[in-house]
């Protein structure tokens, strides 16, 4: 009987329990059965649906309409079941959320690498099967770290978890903390499944100062006689109406199945270019980047071999980037260590790079002991081409070149400045090829038809003057004019753990064009509009221009460019030594060392747990012109040449794009030393370096030093002091090229609360330098009175940055800064982009990051920047131009700009 009663009681309890309403699964109708109002039932339902899953009955009190009385009334009638709404992907995303957001904020500077790292964050690699180069491609992981892990694995040890990983001999603290999010040990956190990301970005940016000056430069009548038409339409700016607000728009979509199958497409239209709504389908496809790829880390046959195959756009990077690292973007002091990384090998490419993008097929097969890669590409490149004056009855080809027809019916280009010889027999080359000066990464990629129409208008004006040495546009950018077929290979042997020797080579075939760069004197005549400028700008560093690679010279005629190089790396103890040697085949043998323009780099990285040293030496010959290199350097190519700051003298101001958007390193030789040391929890010497280098064109020597000290008395508070010093031409104080720069920065950072972060920063700079005498003095002997003209310029900068997190889903960042910088410029790293600021002004920006759901992110940023930048001379309006009667009629004025910028992006990740 007792048993029966107990059983009955249990059944009643179960029945009661079964009748209870589960707050996490009940339908609205079921909730409405509870003794509460329909409104309250709806509030409960919507709280669960739109705010959170219940983890306790007492969370009902978070709903405004549910008071304590109601809670007590329904408490016996409801239950809260365990309910898991997250799948493995969303859980993984939560784990790596901070890192993902950090990568997003650096995407602009990472040139597409953020995509690769994001993939590895979401679907990590198996630590116990990774190759040496896999480690080297991850941020802040060094060769010493990689060897520490690989040796353990090679000895048969299996690293089981993060704690086990931390115990690996030789693995630094930084290596460990950065590596652990990119790897798994036993089971992958996310099983193979389809994932996709889609992103829209809309940005109404302004052109940078140099780009704006270039585009505004007029093709005017003879300015030496003072006849000034003053028509806006005679510059690219006025002709194309660039005063308008015109956004950059980027659309990107990527799909992948685990790390095996990947595909993506990206379209980017920059300010001033045909947008999505105005372009036609053909151009849209041509200007879009895409890829489809397959990766397998467990190839049959040899153990632990992997294969990557990509079609479409891809990036290739090997060694130190001397032979091949294709990008449009220059990055100073790219060491390949810390966060200044290279991802070695072949990776898909949806970056904004257009000019040095590779499109075709690429494969890579790697084993712990060896590796092999091959890549082919065919893509039309933009180029700076020689063109003739448009005049009847000359026929023009599609690129604006004048075309003549011989009696035998063959067409050739007009002789004269465009004369192209075949050096085998001295005969002119017939019109099957374009004459190209160089690749060009244009600020605005206009269509060729648009450009030719504009140039026709400019030529009318130039021709009317007759006073210019070159009274027509003889060099101009053309979109997709250069048909480039490129193929290359990389082979690599890894005889020991941490040691590798590789060889990389590529050949770019130009079957519809000749690269022709005239000698120094003719080059000046070709590039500079007036004969007086040709004398004035006879600068040594212009040698960088005249030594650009030609496929047509007095010595040879060919249609390709070939670069061959060797790279190697070895780890000895806690030091990793690596380097690369490359040659551009010109006159010498392709594989003979030392007979062609060369570039080489060697570095040693020594690592301790809280300290590292990096020592790096590089040398790049002046005539080592490899557009696909992206190696360590202090300056970009053409710095200080006539393309930099003398755009008003050029036959076509847009030639200055070669400098403004250049991607290559300048020819230089130097030693770089970098360190970072964490004394204890209070004091850290941040990334500090000294670089001593010589620009090889004019042998200008420069030393640059930077150091940073951080004092953190509490976790929430830190003080940072940074000092930077740069002296150009330090070896010759009497030379007018000397300049000395000092920059002092003090920053105080504090977390006011768990949700609020405040930073105050003050910076003071001085620059001691000569003014630009080339504007006022002829650069003739005796006029070089630099010492008398040295000027001390100073500037300072004060900023307040504030971040408030309303919750994990809503963050507001804002900044206000004011700067004064007479003659110098400041820089500021905003939320995810760098901004350069000249002269004086103020700036305020606010960025709101809204995490709409676990998958959808929205970011809105607004910036106002008001500044003065240019000193101009204005004659007083109503006084005669007679300085004796009226005093100096000229006074100086500065031009003020006010810029509103908005950036909007939506990012969906599944």
């Amino acid at each position: 009987m007792k048993k029966f009663l107990l059983l009955l009681l249990a059944l009643i309890c179960m029945g009661l329990l079964a009748a209870k309403v589960d707050l996490n699964t009940a339908t609205l109708a079921e909730l409405q059965q509870l003794p509460i109002s329909a409104e309250q039932a709806k509030d409960i339902f919507e709280y669960r649906e739109y705010v959170k899953i219940f983890s306790s009955i007492f969370e009902l009190r978070d709903i405004p309409s549910i008071d304590q009385k109601t809670l007590l009334r329904i408490r016996p009638l409801v239950v809260v079941s365990l309910y898991q709404e997250n799948n493995d992907v969303t859980l993984r995303r939560e784990v790596v959320r901070d890192l993902l957001e950090r990568l997003d904020s650096n995407e602009g500077s990472m040139e597409g690498m953020a995509d690769v790292w994001e993939d590895y964050l979401m679907t990590p690699q198996n630590l116990n099967r990774m190759h040496f180069d896999d480690f080297m491609g991850l941020p802040n992981v060094s060769g010493v770290d990689a060897v520490g892990i690989l040796r353990r694995v090679a000895q048969g040890d299996t690293i089981a978890d993060a704690r086990d990983l931390r115990g690996s001999p030789g693995l630094s603290y930084y290596g460990y903390t950065n590596l652990r999010s990119y790897v798994y040990y036993n089971e992958p956190p996310v099983k193979n499944r389809l994932m996709w990301d889609a992103k829209i970005s809309y940005n109404t940016r302004y052109f940078e100062e140099g780009q704006r000056d270039m585009l505004r430069e007029d093709f005017t009548r003879d300015y030496t006689t003072g006849v000034v038409p003053q028509l806006k339409g005679l510059s690219y700016w006025g002709y194309f109406g660039l005063d308008k607000i015109d956004p950059d728009i980027m659309l990107k979509m990527r799909m992948r199945y685990g790390n095996n199958f990947k595909m993506g497409i990206m379209n980017y239209s920059g300010k001033g270019e045909s947008g999505l709504m105005t372009t036609n389908t053909k151009d849209f496809i041509e200007d879009s980047k895409w890829f489809a790829g397959y990766e397998n880390t467990q190839m049959p046959g040899l153990d632990n071999t992997r294969l990557k195959v990509y079609l479409g756009n891809y990036r290739v990077t090997y060694g130190e980037g001397l032979v091949m690292e294709n990008t449009d973007y220059y990055s100073a002091r790219k060491t390949g260590f810390g966060f200044s990384k290279r991802i070695l090998g072949i990776t898909p490419d949806l970056s904004k790079t257009q000019e040095f993008a590779l499109k075709g097929g690429a494969m890579e097969y790697t084993h712990p002991l060896f590796g092999f890669a091959a890549f082919v590409s065919q893509d039309d490149k933009d180029a700076l081409v020689y063109i003739n004056k448009d005049g009847s009855p000359v026929k023009r080809d599609e690129f604006g070149n004048d075309v003549f027809t011989e009696t035998d019916g063959r067409q050739y280009y007009k002789e004269g400045i465009n004369k192209v010889y075949n050096y085998d027999n001295g005969a002119p080359v017939y019109a099957t090829k374009n004459k190209v000066f160089n690749y060009i990464n244009s600020t605005i990629r206009w269509d060729n038809d648009e450009l030719m129409e504009a140039e026709s208008r400019f030529n009318t004006e130039l021709g009317a003057a007759g006073a210019f040495a070159v009274p027509y546009i003889n060099l101009a950018a053309r979109k997709d004019v250069l048909r480039e077929k490129l193929w290359g290979t990389h082979v690599q042997i890894n005889p020991f753990i941490g040691t590798k020797i590789g060889m990389t080579t590529y050949t770019a075939l130009y079957d519809n064009a000749h690269f022709v760069v005239p000698g120094y004197d003719e080059m000046l005549r070709t590039l500079l509009r007036t004969s007086s400028d040709q004398e004035k700008l006879r600068k040594a560093m212009n040698g960088e221009i005249s030594t650009l690679y030609s496929t047509q010279t007095d010595s040879y005629s060919r249609d390709y460019r070939r670069v061959v190089g060797f790279d190697g790396q070895t780890v000895i103890g806690n030091t990793s030594i690596q380097g690369e040697y490359a040659e551009l085949s010109v006159l010498g043998d392709d594989i003979k060392i030392g007979d062609d323009p060369k570039a080489y780099l060697a570095s040693a990285y020594t690592q301790f747990d809280n300290l590292y040293f990096l020592t790096l030496f590089r040398h790049y010959d002046v005539d080592f012109d490899n557009p696909y290199s992206n190696s360590f350097s202090e300056h970009e190519r053409f710095d200080g040449t006539m393309f930099d700051g003398n755009m008003y003298s050029l036959t076509n101001s847009s030639i200055a794009d070669l400098y403004l958007n250049g991607n290559q390193s300048q020819p230089e030789q130097g030693v770089y030393f970098e360190t970072r040391y964490k004394f204890n929890n209070y004091f850290t010497v941040g990334r500090s370096y000294i670089d001593i280098l010589e620009r090889l064109t004019d042998h200008r020597r420069t030393v640059r030093f930077q150091s940073e000290l951080e004092f953190r008395p509490l976790f929430q508070v830190s003080l940072r002091l940074r000092y930077k010093n740069q002296v150009n031409r330090f070896d010759d104080m009497a030379d007018r090229g000397i300049s000395k720069t000092n920059e002092y920065t003090l920053a105080a950072r504090t977390f006011l609360s768990n949700r609020d972060f405040l930073e105050l920063e003050y910076r003071y700079n001085t620059v001691y330098a000569p003014p630009y005498l080339s504007i006022t003095n002829t650069a003739a002997e005796g006029n070089n009175n630099g010492l008398a003209a040295m000027t001390l310029m100073s500037g300072d900068y004060i900023a307040a940055n504030y971040t408030h997190n309303f919750s994990q889903s809503l963050k507001i960042q804002g900044s206000f800064l004011y700067w004064f910088a007479h003659g110098i410029s400041h820089w500021d790293w905003e939320d995810m982009e760098i901004d350069f600021m000249g002269e004086r002004g103020s700036k305020a920006w606010v960025a709101i990051t809204s995490r709409i759901s676990q998958n959808l992110y929205m970011n809105i940023k607004f910036r106002n920047k008001t500044y003065q930048d240019k000193e101009i001379q204005i004659r007083r309006y109503n006084v005669s131009n007679d300085p004796i009667l009226y005093g100096d009629p000229i006074y100086l004025q500065r031009v003020e700009h006010s810029e509103n910028t908005i950036r909007f992006s939506l990012d969906y990740r599944f």
Partner: protein, 478 residues
């Protein structure tokens, strides 16, 4: 909660202020107003799917039954501060275009008012609703003043004399008075389908006057001659009707989608054009007074939007709309435009919403210029400027009483474009009025430095406008 007296005061304040316009450039469309629902305005005007705001019925008639409310009333005001800066190109000594020098800066504040109401009833799963609203659709209010000063005294740090005053004064709006009907069918607790139709009467009375008035100083400086004043007035009405149909579909607890279609409407524009230039020297008064009656085209608009309501630690709504406007209906020179609207609402704390939004809307400015062809015959040059208006918005709400909500939306927008100088410099060339071979030194000191020719499209003005706006709406629903 506010007291009754405070509430009354607040309503009076809102009613007293009213909604507005700002640009003197677009004489055809004036300024087309965004969503008047203050909540949606703070979310970048992305409100094609709007299940909460009374004024949502103006964006999409199907929103009426989507709201699932029995009655609703709303009053809205819209205050706008517009800044218009016009600049001429500025040249450096190296002859290149350097920047722009602002010669005219006008700041005006405009306001306007709108109201709406509806009633709906549900018969089991079927909902029916009727609504009314009255709102400005396009506003032609404009105020512009430009001083014409001579070149005297500038080296003595004093102002130069004003010789003429140029003004543009525009007023009037095209109002939309609509009757809205909607039908909805409920398929589940969070699934329903709604269809609506909006029939609107459009009516506007617009006046635009452009004047040039020489100052007494200028008239007295050359007493033997008369400098002619100029008056140009357009006074017209726009009237007609417009239809809009819409659908709003709540798919589930997470998603809603919606779309509207507004076919091309041909309205009637009727009025008079008056022109008068005073007599001078041996030239008689030039005066014209003509009547005109012409079609006025409102372009076809198609708009799609969605609303996404995820689970988030802060209750969140994300709305996004894409609109296609067929400006080619109006004129072959116009390109069709795509406009984007997006916004998010987070309930930050204590259910106080924080809204942010973004919109990118294109305008088309149509201008003409007198020129000559290759035979020297006078022709008119037409030009269309497609101008982008990016806008950022923010907003919040205050619950004043049960079912009574005050919504506030803020917006900041700007645009930069080229425009023809509205008052050509040749008019101020006193040689025309005196018959002298040079300008009078009494008006233009050092006349040799004055080159009074009218700039055309070869050297246009650069216009930079910005607007800060506040949209306040009070709504009652139950």
């Amino acid at each position: 909660m506010l007291s009754n007296k405070s509430l009354l005061l607040l309503i009076l304040l809102i009613v007293a202020s009213a909604l507005s316009a700002w640009s003197v450039t677009d004489q055809y469309f004036g300024n087309r107003l965004s969503s008047l629902d203050a909540r949606i305005y703070g979310m970048g005007s992305a409100g094609t799917f709007n299940d909460r705001g009374v004024f949502g019925i103006a964006d999409n008639p199907a929103n009426l039954t989507l709201m699932k409310r029995n009655f609703g009333f709303a009053a809205n005001s819209f205050i706008d501060r517009n800044e218009d800066n016009r600049a001429v190109p500025f040249w450096s000594q190296f002859d290149y275009y350097l920047d722009d020098a602002v010669y005219s800066s006008n700041i005006r504040i405009y306001d306007n008012f709108a109201g709406s109401g509806f009633a709906a009833h549900r018969f089991n799963n079927l909902g029916l609703g009727l609504g009314l609203y009255h709102k400005p659709l396009m506003n032609f209010d404009a105020g512009y003043t430009e001083d014409v000063r001579n070149n005297r005294n500038t080296n003595d740090d004093v102002y130069a004399e004003r010789i003429a005053l140029n003004e543009i004064d525009g007023s009037g709006s095209v109002y939309k008075s609509s009757l809205v009907a909607s039908i909805g069918y409920k398929l589940g607790d969070y699934t329903d389908f709604n269809l609506g139709v909006d029939y609107a009467m459009l009516d506007g009375d617009i006046t635009r006057e452009k004047t040039i008035r020489w100052t007494d100083f200028a008239q007295n400086a050359i007493p033997t001659f008369h400098l002619p004043d100029l008056t140009q007035t357009e006074d017209y009405t726009i009237s007609g009707s417009q239809m809009k149909i819409g659908a709003s579909v709540q798919l589930n607890t997470r998603f809603g989608i919606a779309g509207t279609y507004t076919p091309k409407a041909t309205l009637e524009k009727e009025g008079t054009y008056y022109y008068k230039r005073d007599a001078y020297r041996n030239t008689l008064v030039d005066s014209t007074n003509v009547s005109f009656k012409e079609d006025y085209i409102m372009p076809t608009e198609v708009r799609f939007g969605f609303s996404y309501m995820p689970r988030n630690v802060m209750r969140t709504v994300f709305n996004m709309d894409v609109e296609y406007v067929m400006y080619s209906d109006v004129c072959d020179m116009y390109d069709d435009a795509v406009n984007i609207y997006a916004g998010v609402e987070h309930h930050v704390a204590n259910r106080i919403p924080f809204r942010i939004g973004f919109q990118a809307v294109n305008n088309q400015f149509f201008t003409t210029e007198a020129a000559v062809d290759i035979n020297n015959d006078p022709i008119t040059v037409y030009r269309v400027e497609k101008v982008l208006n990016p806008m950022i918005t923010a907003g919040s709400s205050v619950t004043l009483a049960k079912n009574v909500v005050l919504d506030l939306g803020f917006g900041y927008t700007w645009r930069e474009y080229e425009a023809i100088d509205m008052f050509g410099d040749a008019y101020y060339n006193d040689k025309t009025y005196t018959g002298a071979s040079t300008n009078s030194a009494a008006i233009w000191t050092n006349p040799q430095y004055v080159n009074l020719i009218t700039r055309g499209w070869e050297n246009p003005d650069n216009v930079r406008e910005n607007s800060i706006s506040l949209n306040a709406g009070i709504s009652v629903t139950w």
